[in-house]
Each structure stands twice: as C-alpha cells, then as structure tokens.
C-alpha cells in the first residue's frame, strides 16, 4: 500500500501530531514498512469466513447498577499537569 504525503497529513491531523521535513520522510518510510508487513495477511483467502472479533466465547459480562466512590476529587485531579481545586485546565479551545 502506498503511503503518500496526504496520508501522513491526514493521520497526523487525526492524531494531533506534527511531522515536518525530514521527520515526514522518515515516518512515511516506517509506516510503509509497517503496513506492508501487516498486509501479508491479505494474501490469505478469507471468503466465507466470519470475522473473528473476540478471542473467548464469554458473553454478557455485566455489572449491577450500583454507584461507588472510588477516588476523591483531589486524587482525580492530581496527575493533571494543570488544574485548580475543581477542574482540569487546558489551553483555551474556543477562539474568541
């Protein structure tokens, strides 16, 4: 499969990543190799084979509707790089 500059641009936009100049060429080479490697799977004829989604046959692993407090607000916020006592803080999303 051909990985083009447009593919890289699209994927980096979705992943919120940036690749410039030399970086872009390198990721293009790497990604091509990865895709070609995985693409070997396409050589197997899978006509009439149902897709396998789950590795086990377990079904209905369900939980009762009970609410439990497991972590405090302080604990919830403490690993965030920027926060106050109530909220996570991130750079402004909406441009005024």
């Amino acid at each position: 499969m051909k990985i083009t500059d447009e593919t890289i641009d699209h994927l980096s936009h979705l992943a919120r990543l940036e690749f410039n100049g030399d970086q872009k060429e390198r990721i293009k080479t790497d990604l091509t190799k990865i895709i070609d490697f995985v693409d070997q799977l396409s050589s197997v004829n899978t006509d009439g084979v149902e897709p396998l989604i789950f590795m086990t046959e377990t079904e209905n692993v369900l939980r009762d509707d009970v609410d439990v407090v497991t972590i405090s607000q302080t604990e919830a916020l403490k690993n965030a790089p920027v926060h106050d006592t109530d909220y996570f803080k991130i750079p402004t999303v909406l441009k005024k």
């Binding site: 692993v61 609410d67 996570f88 750079p91």
Partner: protein, 487 residues
C-alpha cells in the same frame, strides 16, 4: 429572510433527527462512579472514566434493559447478539481518546414513533436504530479567560441515541416528534427528558429538495438546540436558508452548523468531509452482549402503560374526547393519578374534569407537581359519587368541600356531614321549604300561575336560598313544578 410562500411551496424539506437521551441509572455506563447531574465538578469520576492506563470498562446491565424498554415501546427489532465499538477522536473532554458506542450492531433496529402532523393527522416516523453509548465530559469556556476548564462528571454517563429515518417534512413535525420521544422516555422512566439540563439532546439532519426531485438535497447537520422550541426554530431557519441559497444558485455544502438561540440563526461549525474520520473498530474490552427472547419478554411484562395505549383506551373505552385524553396523557404522573381515580368511579368524564379542572388549577396555583399532591384518588372518586347521587351540589363540592379536602385529605362525605353541607332530597323536607316560599312570595306565585313562566328562575332561587344550597336542585325543581301546578 425573504422567500415567498410560492417559492417555499416548490420545495420539500427532508428531516431526520438524532436524539441522545441520558439514562436514569445510578452509575455510569462502563464504570461504577455516580451518574448525577449537578455534583461538584470532577467528583463523580473513577480511574475508568479518567481513562487511566490499564483500566477496563465494565458494562452496566441496566443500560441494556433501558435501551430494550425503549425498543419495545417503539416496536423495534431487538438485536440478539451485539458488541460495542470504539469511535476514535481526540478532544479534551473525552479522556480515553475514543467513545465506546455501537456501530454495526445497534441494540434496536426499525420500529417507529407515532406523532401528529401539522394537520393533526397521525403519522409514523420510522426509526433507523437505537444504540447505546457514553456521554463525554463538559468543557467550560466562560469561567477562566485563559483556559478551558474540564469537568468529567458527565463522561461515561450512559446514553441511548435514537436515530430517525428522514421521514419528517416540517419543523412542526420535528417538534411533535421530539415531544413524543420525550413523553415516551419519561413514561418508561429511563430518562428525565430535561432538555435545558441536557439530559435529552437533539441534532437534526436537514435538506430540502424540489417536490418532484428524485434525489435528496445536500444534508446539513444542526446541533445545539437545547429546547423544544429551539428545535423548531433552528429547523425553520435552516429550511429557509437552504431554499434561499438554492434559489440564488448557490451551492450548499455538507457541513455541521451550530444553532444560536439568541438570534435564531445557524452558523457553520466544521465541514463534514475532512474532519470526520472516526476509524470505528470493535471494542475488545467489552465482551459481546446476548439478549434472549425470555429476557425481552420479562422486560415487556414489566413495562408501564404507554401514552398512546392510554390515549386510545380513554377515547374508545372510556368515551373521553381527543382533547381530554391528550391533556391527561401528556404527563405520566397525571395519567397515573387519573388511572387511580377511575379504579373507584365509573364516571370517567367527571374524573377527567376534576383532574383537568380543580386539581390542575390547584397544582398550578401552588406550583406543585402532582406527585406532591396530598389528595387520595379514592376521595376524589367519592366526591364524584356524592355529586352523582345528589348528596352534594357541584358548586358546593368545588367551592367548599374540595378546598377542605386539600387541607386534610379527609373523606369528602365526612367533611360535608360535619359542615352540614349534605343536600336533602327528602321530599317532605323540601315540600315544607316550597310551601314556605309559596307563602312568602304571593304576587310572584300568582303571576307565574298566570303564565309568566320565566319567573321560575326567581322562585327556584328563593327556594335554594331558603335551603342554604342544600336542597338537591333536581328533585327540588321537580317538586316545585308539581306544587306550583297544583290548584
């Protein structure tokens, strides 16, 4: 905007709605932190909700049952085997980087919602699907000028998304459809239907086409309509905007537009083609769900009565008018209260009148919900039977007895007896009163007997006054006519 009726009539709007309803569960969809509106920010969270590495979701069985309830109510096909999918996108209020939803195997497919069109005729709006998913957190842009604040209490709250077919052809129908869906989820007790708080949200897909066209026009999605009225306003605006653009020869683009409630217009948010690539794939962390026929049957048997069922029952079996049935079934709690009253009385029309009249105006005046009303339905039924049997006049019942009942929720018979309000239909008693009236008003009686029949009203009034409103007017009137025609 200025498009004439004539131009507008050339086009047919094609509208499909997507409604998200937050489920009234105690805990979230895939974790056991609390599902509650209005808690202090970031208190209803867990490591699963926060998307911490190594955490795994666990499915809430109640969400499934609630979705099935809605499916049964809309006559959908309930899927036997299904799995979840990841919808991938990066946004700060989505900690995991993906939303767990259903893609290829929604829990319900097909079915319909019965609505009224703009002419009051019944119309079925088809459903494409109902699927389960989770809500995102909340981004707050207007507290801190330099930062966006994130509250993840809402992240992971269970939702069902109800997707309609593009069967809706006017803003009025869209309004009626959302009203009907809200009524249904409230009857089913699966969502509180509060659009202002966002527990019921609606997005609209709108296009217009020339009436004889074979192909749909370019579809625009409108978001952010946070009330019933705004759904209607946004759709109305969008229909006109699209028609006007087409008439001017402009090319419409497929895009998402935001509704602005302040000026009633929509503005472009993002263009659809480039931005949306969600790369769905099956969610490996949740095992598939199998719903057996027996399970669906169990839920079906425990279903509450639905508004359409009650409406039909009221108009056909109970002989109520369309209007009465509509008012009573509009709110589940009112309907259930009415249902209680009619367990004790067969005078359905009177029961409806009391509910829609005295009881509703009391609730309105006191700004009460009917669930807060301290008035036993059997006492209302008893009041009706007191009137029907002639023991109480309607005006006494309404003006004197009913207010007393609201004070103490006592039996109306007791109240009427202790206040000496019971009407007498005892002939001897009434005859005595009539004789006194005849004796006291000789000239009017003479003129009446001479043919001035319109004086009957006056004489009857004197009689009622004499009895202090307690003579049963029906038997009193009959006796009075008899005694006046004697000699």
């Amino acid at each position: 905007m200025a498009i004439t009726e004539e131009i507008r009539a050339k086009y047919k709007p094609v509208i499909g709605l997507e409604i998200h309803a937050q489920m009234l569960t105690r805990s979230k969809a895939y974790s056991n932190d609390k599902n509650e509106y209005g808690s202090a920010p970031n208190t209803n969270v867990s490591v699963i909700t926060l998307g911490h590495p190594g955490t795994l979701p666990r499915m809430n069985r109640k969400t499934i049952d609630f979705a099935i309830r809605m499916g049964i109510a809309c006559d959908c096909k309930i899927s036997e085997l299904q799995h979840f999918a990841r919808k991938n996108y990066f946004y700060p209020d989505l900690p995991k980087g993906y939303q767990i939803t259903q893609d290829t195997t929604p829990i319900c497919t097909g079915g319909s919602v019965l609505i009224k069109d703009e002419n009051g005729n019944e119309k079925r709006v088809g459903l494409t699907r109902i699927h389960m998913e989770e809500d995102a957190g909340k981004s707050i842009h207007d507290i801190d000028p330099f930062n966006t604040l994130i509250d993840l209490n809402r992240a992971g709250v269970p939702l069902i998304e109800i997707v309609s077919e593009p069967d809706i052809t006017s803003s009025q129908q869209a309004y009626n459809y959302v009203t009907e869906v809200r009524k249904l989820v409230r009857y089913l007790d699966i969502c509180d239907g509060n659009m202002e708080e966002g527990s019921l949200r609606c997005d609209a897909n709108i296009s217009v086409m020339l009436k004889d066209a074979k192909e749909f026009g370019v579809k625009v999605e409108v978001k952010n309509m946070n009330s019933m009225r705004n759904v209607q306003r946004a759709i109305e605006y969008e229909i006109e905007r699209q028609i006007e653009a087409i008439e001017k020869g402009e090319k419409l683009v497929q895009e998402t537009r935001n509704f602005n409630a302040l000026n009633g217009t929509t503005t472009a948010m993002r263009s659809k083609e480039a931005a949306n690539d969600y790369r769905y794939f099956p969610e490996p962390d949740l095992q598939p769900i199998r719903v057996t026929q027996q399970h669906v049957q169990k839920i079906r048997e425990a279903m509450p009565p639905l508004p359409n069922f009650l409406h039909t029952k009221y108009t056909t079996e109970l002989g109520l008018s369309e209007y009465d049935a509509g008012v009573i079934t509009d709110q589940k709690e009112i309907a259930l209260y009415f249902e209680e009253i009619i367990r004790y009385t067969k005078n359905y029309k009177a029961a409806a009148n009391w509910v829609m009249g005295d009881i509703k105006s009391h609730l309105n005046a006191k700004a009460l919900d009917i669930t807060e009303l301290k008035l036993s339905p059997n006492h209302v039924a008893e009041l009706i039977s007191l009137i029907d049997s002639g023991k109480l006049s309607h005006s006494l019942a309404s003006q004197k007895v009913f207010p007393e009942m609201l004070k103490a929720d006592e039996s109306p018979l007791k109240i009427a007896e202790s206040n000496n309000w019971i009407q007498t239909s005892d002939e001897g008693e009434i005859k005595k009163l009539i004789a006194a009236v005849i004796a006291e008003n000789p000239s009017e009686i003479a003129r009446y007997r001479a043919g001035e029949t319109k004086l009957m009203g006056f004489i009857m009034g004197q009689l009622m006054k004499k009895s202090a409103g307690k003579a049963d007017p029906k038997s009193a009137g009959k006796l009075l006519t008899e005694m006046l025609s004697e000699n």
